[in-house]
Symmetry: C2
Subunit: 141 residues, 2 copies
């Protein structure tokens, strides 16, 4: 684990380091429960209180360090390090597989124009449909 920009008067505790590293190594957004279990097994045994994970994630989110999301159709939140870039997903309505989109459809569209009363700073997009394996068109947009 290396030195890094860690803001204001916050303590760089063992637990926070652990959560941070787990998120850093994660390929995809993780739920609080998942993070908890990873931390647990990483430490060999019980190391954390689940509530601590939630508190840490809340702090990290507050700092803009992590991004909290909830997949549509899911009920538990997932967290990922805010790496500056954002990813959108195509979600299969059949098998619920999540396929990351390689590019953002808005890359060259200025959403800011959409509304005059609103300053857009970010956006979230999800496509729903069927993956190659489950292909079975039925509904219309």
């Amino acid at each position: 684990m290396d030195e890094m920009e860690y803001p204001q008067g916050l303590k760089w505790t063992r637990q926070r380091k652990s959560v941070y590293n787990i998120l850093r190594n994660a390929e995809e957004p993780l739920s609080a429960a998942r993070i908890y279990h990873l931390a647990e097994q990483e430490a060999g045994g019980k190391d954390f209180a689940p509530s601590t994970v939630y508190r840490i994630l809340a702090v990290f989110e507050e700092l803009g360090l992590v991004e909290k999301t909830t997949w549509m159709g899911e009920d538990t939140a997932v967290y990922a390090l805010n790496r500056g870039r954002h990813t959108h997903y195509a979600v299969c309505l059949q098998c619920h597989k999540r396929i990351p989109l390689q590019k953002c459809p808005f890359a060259h569209i200025h959403l800011e124009r959409e509304t005059e009363d609103f300053t857009v700073v970010s956006h979230k997009l999800e496509l729903y449909g069927y993956c190659r394996e489950c292909r079975e068109p039925e509904r219309e947009v």
Copy 2:
């Protein structure tokens, strides 16, 4: 309340009629709790079990009659009659106001081209930023 297409061997019960009508009159998606309370006061007194609302909504969703969503950042699901058209929202990061977009940015863009491995049938988009009152730009996309 009027006659309508009501599919298969499902019973058109008092409770289902009530939930259906509440959703039909709703201007915006409602939470299960909200639907429950509306039904309660519509009936003058206790009329429903909360669990019944959930069961009815699950059935309606299964039938494609209603659409279940969860606002990002919220934890409770909301339900709306599936009216064929879809609405996107701009959500204020400050006051959490939700401003419906008058038009879908994808109206004339064929999302289907995005991925070859995926047949897109619907999508969900949310913009995040600051409304006129709360304007205070800070983050970048």
